[in-house]
């Protein structure tokens, strides 16, 4: 299989990742609970991963909270900051992890729209939308549908000037672009561990520059007599047993990334996307591209249903994702509703021959009329 659905999850990991998961399953007990060797080992793995993530994102380690995924982190952030009726300004590219949560909270959601690949326009529209009655602003760093990079640092600066808490969804950028919550003035930054950070599924991080409200209540291995949740991080956000094997794998993913040249990784992925885009354009596909695009290429063949085309690719061993990508708002903003697009997404493990293989299948399907 040629796997090009890395924006959903990176399937191929550095060899250290599965090794760390297996080792943790075999040898780790519950971290931060008992005082025996197996509990201490689990505690060390969790701590080392926290420290690594802290270094990676410029945070104190205790402000790095483990979550099950980015969605959980975004839920925690938004439930902390948003009450029913609050005006929340979001980018028109947000994922359902943001929009459904806001809907569930009864917020007045105000999506900002702009040409997808024009950071200056996004900034200008956010600046207008961030009125004094805005309670919170939410913006993703990179679109999971189009790979567009949004100017979160500049939006965060406006939010800071106006006293508006800022939440960033770094799901598609973490591991590829610098993620710097302090420079962005982001109160909370959420990300999965299983995408660009190359960890296992069921892992995620919430980087907290403010104290979140607990999303779950329960045991933390600390202050057990108190019946309220601890007021300090990370315990406040980490009730219940942690996913130690997952966190061990995430630590291995972070170690691998730390050993790489980030600029080279980025350049490599951009070359892969450019090659895919060129080949698809030559076949008459409509592609959605722009400067600074990252990791993701949306495309479609005129007159062809996207799901049918993706199924045809799948029959030939190519893993893509078609449809709305859990981001109907992004497709509305781009004008690609109702059918959506086909999404090709690469990772640090994707190779040039895989893109060539994908294009060979695309040419074959085009000739046979299946795309």
């Amino acid at each position: 299989m040629i796997y090009l659905d890395n924006a959903a999850t990176t399937l191929r990991k550095p060899p250290g990742v599965p090794r760390a998961v297996v080792e943790a399953i075999r040898s780790c007990a519950n971290p931060g609970r008992g005082g025996h060797a197996a509990a201490a080992k689990a505690g060390e793995i969790v701590w080392q991963t926290r420290v690594l993530a802290g270094r990676f994102f410029g945070m104190e380690p205790e402000r790095v909270c483990f979550t099950a995924n980015a969605t959980e982190g975004l839920n925690a952030a938004l439930r902390t900051l948003v009450n029913a009726g609050d005006r929340v300004v979001i980018s028109g590219l947000e994922h359902n992890a943001v929009t459904r949560t806001l809907e569930g909270l009864g917020a007045e959601t105000v999506p900002v729209t702009a040409p997808i690949f024009c950071p200056a326009a996004w900034l200008e529209r956010f600046e207008k939308a961030l009125t004094p009655d805005t309670r919170v602003a939410v913006c993703l760093h990179v679109s999971n549908v189009f790979g567009a990079v949004l100017p979160v640092k500049e939006i965060g600066a406006i939010c800071a000037q106006r006293g508006i808490p800022f939440v960033v969804d770094a799901s598609q950028s973490a591991g590829l672009l610098p993620v710097r919550p302090a420079e962005w003035n982001a109160a909370f930054t959420a990300m999965p561990g299983h995408k660009g950070l190359l960890g296992p599924q069921g892992t995620g991080l919430l980087l907290c520059r403010e104290l979140p409200a607990p999303l779950r209540f329960g045991g933390t291995g600390s202050r057990s007599l108190a019946q309220t949740m601890p007021d300090e991080l990370p315990d406040r956000m980490e009730a219940g047993t942690l996913n130690v094997p997952g966190i061990a794998g995430l630590g291995a993913g972070l170690r691998w990334l730390s050993s790489q040249d980030p600029k080279r990784l980025l350049e490599r992925e951009r070359k892969l996307l450019a090659a895919a885009e060129k080949g698809l354009s030559e076949l008459g596909a409509q592609t959605f591209t722009g400067p600074e695009q990252l990791g993701v290429l949306s495309f479609r063949f005129p007159g062809m249903d996207c799901e049918t085309a993706a199924a045809a690719f799948s029959d030939h061993g190519i893993a893509l994702r078609a449809g709305l990508h859990c981001a109907p708002l992004a497709h509305r903003t781009a004008g690609t509703l109702p059918e959506g697009t086909i999404r090709l997404s690469v990772s640090a493990m994707t190779t040039p021959p895989e893109i060539e293989g994908f294009l060979a299948v695309a040419r074959k399907l085009r000739r046979s009329g299946r795309t």
Partner: protein
Amino acid sequence: MYDCYFTVRSVTPGQKGRDALLRAGLRCRLLRAPAATSTQGCAYALAVRQADWPQAAEILNRAGVRMEGRWLRRVDGTFERATL
């Protein structure tokens, strides 16, 4: 012999404190806090030598580690609350 205990709320500040002490060249041990040193149930303690105590307290403060209590272990194994 580790006879001075700094109690911290949970394992995470304990680990942060331990790393800071080790980086400064002080020997220490992170362990579950003895019940006598913890008023709110489960907690952790950083045990250091009495001779290192003032320096350790300063290092932990600088590292932003919130200490819940400071204890001296007597020869008979009981604890007494202590001030620097």
